[in-house]
Amino acid sequence: MIKKGNFITVKLRNNISEIERLNIILFQFGKINNLSQNILFKMNLALEETVTNIIKYAYNDDTEHAILIHISLSRGILTAEIEDDGKPFNPLNSPKPDINKPIEDRTMGGLGIHIVRNLMDKIEYRRDRNKNFLILKKGI
């Protein structure tokens, strides 16, 4: 963990148990920067959905991988950049689930990303140096 007031980097292993550590660090960052519970709830959920997807689907092997999360606050915008070395995946290209379907026809596919899209003001993706970079932005 690197801490410099309004910028923090968290290095996670590709293991679901790491989500708890991410939550704790995000809330510490929120406290230092006086972020509202509402903003923290939204960023927390967006990060959980994103990181969970990476852990579940990004890797074809059983080895340990690092997922880096850079969280920053600048000019009223809370930004989280998630960096992983998994297979190329641009969540912005994934189809939107039909949330009006009746329960018997509902599946869970794509729901996590749909939630992230709803929670954030802006999402960007790039593939660079064999890594995925997803940038989530939320105005505070």
Binding site: I19, N44, I103
Partner: protein, 112 residues
């Protein structure tokens, strides 16, 4: 996540307390599945103590609800959803699936 259960006649209530996320969803899933396997198809999930839910939690509820509704008079009903959790239900289009009651008593009555 703390999970406690209560029974009133053939109605079983699961009271959840804590975060319903990718780390805790599995324990809730196990509890709901064990109830379904014991043919307890009238279920209430009390969410008053849940201040956070992610798609992992929604997935568990969806699966158990679908299973319960396959049985005569079977259902999974919810009580006391906190505002932020409700917003996640709305986002996911899940609100339309559930009868939500503001107390366990009302949810129990709805089954009778």
């Amino acid at each position: 996540m703390e999970i406690t259960t209560k029974q009133l006649g053939d109605i079983h209530t699961v009271v959840l307390e804590g975060r319903f996320d990718s780390m805790t969803a599995h324990s809730v899933e196990e509890k709901l599945n064990s109830m379904l396997e014991s043919s307890h198809f009238k279920m209430i999930v009390d969410l008053s103590g849940v201040d956070y839910i992610s798609s992992a939690g929604l997935r568990v509820l969806l699966s158990a609800t679908k299973r319960a509704r396959q049985e005569k008079d079977g259902d999974l009903r919810l009580t006391s959803i906190q505002t932020q959790v409700r917003q996640v239900f709305d986002m996911a289009g899940f609100t339309q699936f559930y009868k939500v009651y503001d107390s366990e008593e009302k949810a129990v009555k709805s089954f009778t």
